[in-house]
């Protein structure tokens, strides 16, 4: 091993001039943006830029994670996130196994930790987990020595979604510091909102959340965000808006009696965007309810970056898998 190190003590690296981030990644897991430093977030974004270049090559594949096994363990339905993680893993030459709740031992009552330990015994290297309980990814990571990546846990965090949102913003606006981002929609039930707030505020953006009063969680001001229940107010000074899916299936408070009613009060329409900055960026994590939180013309309009977000998601997930797989050992989370 010493010899291997020697072989690569490349002369150019000894002198080491790096114009990019030189932060060293030490975490075996990615559980949420709350637990990352500004520098670690920027490292993921910088690496994702390099991986985006890989996706533009004639052969969109690199041998970096050859021989590694990545398990997508999904307790909740997901199309975009699961396919995105699967593609990211395959572009890195890893082997991928998908486990969904239906048709697995999860239905026979096996606990999350038991499933995780079995996957570890089967020599998996990384588990990507989506679960309906907040904290599930952290619980799993503490029980295992292998890497755990949170693909969404309850109402807690969805770090890779926020990272791809921020990556898309950085691509468009060059800088995150000082920009105004409004997150509009069901904040109370949204892990996407929570991860975005952590990430954006750490990078110095000013964040406003906008929702019906019933869907604003108490204590949200502690996260250093402005709160409003006026959509016009949220749009007015924003450089970007991130419009969340109205999750009627989770709206126990029945804050809104109907979709039409929601669209009238909170829907993002072309009419409302007329009062916005001309180049306002319109984002949505998907899946979109057209005519509920956003008009179809806005989703397909010139300001929308919704499909670019999807493409960027692969680059972000490649960066995350690459970093947790090569975490510098010694200091674990």
């Amino acid at each position: 091993m010493t010899e291997m190190k020697l072989s690569y003590a490349k002369n150019s690296e000894v002198a080491g001039v790096a114009d990019k981030n030189t932060t060293v990644w030490t975490k075996k897991d990615l559980l949420g943006l709350e637990y990352l430093s500004k520098e670690e977030i920027e490292l993921i974004l910088d690496d994702a830029e390099s991986f985006k270049e890989v996706l533009a090559r004639p052969l969109r594949k690199v041998p970096t994670l050859r021989g590694k096994t990545i398990v997508n363990l999904f307790y909740e339905p997901s199309t975009r996130t699961r396919i995105s993680f699967e593609l990211a893993a395959k572009r890195l030459s890893a082997d991928v196994i998908n486990i969904v709740k239906e048709g697995s031992s999860i239905q026979k009552g096996e606990t999350l930790i038991d499933t995780g330990r079995n996957l570890e015994a089967l020599k998996a290297d990384i588990i990507v987990v989506r679960h309906n309980c907040s904290g599930a990814a952290m619980m799993l990571s503490r029980a295992l020595n292998i890497s755990v990546v949170n693909a969404g846990d309850g109402w807690h965090e969805h770090p890779t979604q926020a990272l791809l949102d921020i990556f898309t913003l950085r691509e468009k606006l060059k800088n995150i510091r000082g920009i105004n981002v409004s997150i509009i929609g069901d904040i109370a039930h949204s892990r996407v909102a929570r991860s975005n707030i952590w990430g954006l505020t750490k990078l110095g953006a000013s964040v406003t959340v906008c929702a019906p009063k019933e869907l604003i969680p108490s204590g949200i001001e502690k996260m250093k965000v402005k709160v409003t229940d006026s959509i016009d107010e949220a749009i007015k000074d924003a450089d970007a808006i991130n419009v969340l899916r109205m999750q009627f299936e989770r709206d126990e408070a029945e804050a809104f009696p109907s979709k039409i009613e929601y669209f009238r009060t909170f829907g993002v329409t072309e009419e409302r965007l007329k009062k916005a900055k001309k180049n306002i960026i319109v984002m949505h994590p998907g899946p979109i309810n057209r005519g509920v939180e956003m008009a179809a013309e806005v989703a397909d309009g010139a300001n929308s970056v919704i499909l670019e977000q999807v493409t960027n998601g692969i680059a972000i997930r490649m960066a995350v898998l690459y970093l947790v797989a090569h975490a510098k050992k010694g200091k674990l989370v």
Binding site: M1, M4, K5, L6, S7, Y8, A9, K10, N11, S12, E13, V14, A15, V17, A18, K20, N21, T22, V24, W25, D46, D47, E49, S50, E53, V54, R57, P58, L59, K61, V62, P63, T64, Y322, A325, H326, K328
Partner: protein
């Protein structure tokens, strides 16, 4: 690290680049299809210098690309330092081209192995040749340079430091003892 000797100064590097450029032209009469690709970090700057020097002689544009080999390394989990990931920039098709790969120092040959694996994923060049500023020996793979600025016999506890004005404060090559 203690500096032992200066191997090349500014003029020494300049002359090596000019000589390598002439040798490349001599060996590849068909400079129409010539492309030059430098390996990050310092191979990139040498590639640009060699391309410029060839352009001055043949009076035509020579495409230059930059290769970051990080994702193709065979020792990613074992390296002492976490490498900084950067972009590969090759904005032309390398298939059918006479490709000269450029790096600052040829040592074990593992970097060149990574670079060739990666290039072959980008296309099928007619030929790949290798140009290095310094060949310090100690190969661990059957790889040989076609163009060498200076051959330097070294021991394993020595380090070659290449400094180039584009990223360092000056042009020079020194040998140090660890």
């Amino acid at each position: 690290m203690r500096e032992k000797a200066k191997l090349l100064d500014k003029d020494g590097i300049k002359n090596a680049v000019i000589r390598i450029s002439h040798e490349i032209i001599e060996k590849n009469k068909d400079t129409e299809n010539l492309v030059i690709i430098g390996i990050r970090n310092r191979g990139e700057y040498l590639a640009h210098r060699i391309a410029e020097s060839i352009e001055n002689i043949v009076k035509s544009r020579i495409p230059v690309g930059i290769l970051d080999i990080t994702l193709y390394r065979d020792d990613l989990t074992e390296v002492a330092e976490q490498p900084v990931l950067k972009e590969t920039i090759i904005s032309f098709d390398i298939t059918g081209k006479r490709l000269v790969l450029v790096d600052d120092v040829l040592f074990t040959g593992r970097t060149i192995r990574c670079a060739m694996d990666q290039l072959i994923d980008f296309g099928r060049p007619r030929v790949i040749q290798l140009a290095v500023l310094i060949d310090r020996g100690h190969r661990e793979l059957p790889i040989k340079a076609d163009y060498v600025g200076k051959n330097v016999p070294t021991s394993l506890n020595e380090v070659i430091e290449v400094k180039l004005a584009e990223v360092d404060d000056r042009d020079e090559v020194i040998i140090c003892e660890k």
